[in-house]
């Protein structure tokens, strides 16, 4: 390596003049002649400055870089805009709306009642509104069907959810109350294309629920003034097999869940046999059959719905039997704690001795 210069200040001056390629002062020239380190440093400085100067960018490269800079700048400013959040916010609002609609908290705009009412013919809408306005404000409106009077009205009503009786065709609207006398029947056509037939004598109310989008639930209420036994009965009640309840997957043969399943099988079978006799309520018969079929297919939700429907029956025996069966169904799924209050109530005030006995047995298990 080159030896160090003994006079650093003088070397600074020598290098400054070598860099500028100027004329050396006498002192610097004299020092440079005798100092090998300064000679090497001055020559290196000259070469470095020369190489550095030749290695400069041209204007084209600068212009291209300026274009890149502007493009990146615009992109960066655009990317930082608050409105970029808008699509995500809209997607969030839409997802929330769909979630609320799917859970029934809010209704879909094309499924809500006002939209259906708005489509009614003027005459039908006016009479429907008149009947609805006569309902007591503290109760949901209940009104009799308004049958279409003209062929055009019949055609229009048949294109939508409707009921059809011997008296005529009426739109199926929320709060409709239809009383069928003995020998009368009504065909109920729903929005999804399903159709049911109801036979009198009975009193049927229709209402929509937020949980059933586009569907209708039918509540059958036997009029207290009329005989509760329907005239038209299904000739043969649905047979309930001995083993309507599938083997429980959770519990073993001796487990609490397994015992509940077996008891449920027995309850459903006996209840179905009870209602299948002459004078049975046709709605109850069908509901028990649905429950049995659902249990055969291990469809908890369908069975639960059937028991729920039966639990609203006016007949106390049917209602309590259904509540007991539903409690057993829930126990078979490991939900003892949830049904304990129901079992206690049934054990104390069940409609039949059998219901009270079985509820007590389950409580003491």
């Amino acid at each position: 390596m080159n030896p160090q210069c003994s006079e650093p200040d003088l070397q600074m001056a020598v290098l400054a003049e070598a860099r500028d390629a100027g004329t050396l002062t006498p002192d610097c020239a004299l020092h440079l002649e005798g100092c090998a380190a300064c000679q090497t440093a001055a020559e290196r400085m000259r070469r470095m400055v020369s190489t550095w100067s030749a290695d400069q960018v041209d204007d084209d490269a600068v212009a291209a870089a300026a274009t890149r800079f502007q493009a990146r700048r615009v992109a960066a400013h655009a990317a930082a805009g608050w409105f970029d959040v808008v699509p995500f916010a809209l997607a969030g609002v839409a997802a929330g709306y769909l979630l609320l609609a799917s859970t029934g908290t809010i209704g879909l705009p094309w499924k809500t009642r006002p939209a259906i009412d708005a489509q009614l013919p003027t005459a039908v809408r006016a009479s429907t509104a008149a009947v609805a306005s006569s309902a007591t404000p503290n109760d949901s409106p209940r009104f009799a069907p308004v049958f279409a009077a003209t062929d055009e009205g019949v055609k229009w009503v048949r294109a939508r959810p409707h009921i059809e009786t011997t008296r005529g065709v009426a739109p199926l609207v929320d709060g409709l109350r239809l009383q069928l006398n003995q020998g009368e029947s009504a065909s109920v056509a729903l929005a999804d294309g399903r159709a049911s037939k109801v036979e009198g004598p009975c009193l049927v109310e229709f209402w929509s629920t937020p949980m059933e989008v586009g569907g209708w639930r039918i509540l059958r209420e036997e009029s207290a003034a009329e005989p509760s036994v329907p005239v038209a009965i299904t000739p043969t009640a649905p047979a309930v097999p001995e083993s309507a309840v599938p083997s429980n997957k959770k519990g073993g043969p001796g487990s609490r869940e397994g015992g509940a399943a077996a008891a449920l099988n027995e309850t459903v079978s006996s209840s179905a046999r009870d209602v299948a006799g002459p004078g049975a309520n046709q709605v109850s018969v069908r509901a028990w059959a649905r429950a049995a079929a659902a249990l055969r297919e291990d469809d908890f939700d369908a069975a639960d719905r059937a028991f729920d429907e039966l639990g609203h029956a006016l007949d106390p025996a049917t209602r309590d039997a259904a509540r007991l069966a539903r409690a057993q169904l829930w126990i078979s799924r490991g939900r003892e704690a949830a049904v304990r209050p129901v079992l206690e109530q049934l054990a104390q005030s069940g409609a039949t001795p059998l219901v009270r006995q079985r509820a007590a047995e389950f409580l003491h298990r």
Binding site: M1, N2, P8, M12, L15, R19, D20, A36, Q39, T40, A41, E43, R44, M45, R47, M48, V49, T51, W52, A54, D55, Q56, V57, D59, A61, V62, A65, A66, R68, F69, Q70, R72, R73
Partner: protein
């Protein structure tokens, strides 16, 4: 002055100054972008008490310092280099002759091996021709500090280049003897 006009005026300045400070590294464009953005953002606060080039040089210098501090921390954290040394990077091939390109590349790599503070003083003083007073304004330090960094930087650079076939001790001495 509009933003566009200011951009047209200061960007070439920033670009050339940044190239002097860091050369054609892979992150050169990013550094230019950051520095130019900073210059344009602060342009309204430029009071004219120094030359515009001095002011922009200071911004470029601070940008490089910040970036290299961050990069060293990053290297140390992920143990890609024991001491957090910044690897020198090859410049782009945009020179007319291969020999000149190689010389310029070797010089730039040697300069990049200096510490950022010494490198800035060496580049500004020896290679770009700024005075010690101007450099003191750019790096915001005393004259004596600049002189000290200049002397130390030259010594470090001579040590780095001592074996170089063009800038090395033997080559320069031989050239001098030939004269």
């Amino acid at each position: 002055m509009s933003s566009r006009a200011a951009s047209n005026e200061v960007f070439p300045l920033v670009y050339r100054q940044m190239r002097s400070l860091v050369g054609n590294r892979s992150d050169f464009d990013d550094l230019v972008q950051i520095a130019a953005e900073q210059v344009l953002r602060s342009f309204s606060s430029f009071e004219g008490r120094s030359k515009l080039s001095t002011w922009t040089y200071r911004i470029c210098y601070l940008t490089v310092l910040r970036h290299e501090r961050w990069y060293r921390r990053w290297l140390r954290r992920f143990a890609l280099a024991e001491r957090g040394d910044v690897e020198s990077q090859s410049p782009a091939l945009d020179e007319p002759t291969l020999e000149e390109f190689e010389r310029a590349g070797r010089l730039r790599r040697a300069v990049e091996r200096l510490s950022p503070k010494r490198r800035t003083v060496i580049v500004l003083h020896d290679l770009e021709g700024h005075s010690v007073e101007e450099i003191a304004g750019i790096v915001a330090t005393k004259l004596l500090t600049v002189r000290s960094r200049l002397r130390d930087g030259r010594r470090d650079l001579a040590r780095i280049l001592c074996a170089d076939p063009y800038f090395g001790d033997e080559a320069c001495r031989f050239e001098e003897n030939e004269r």
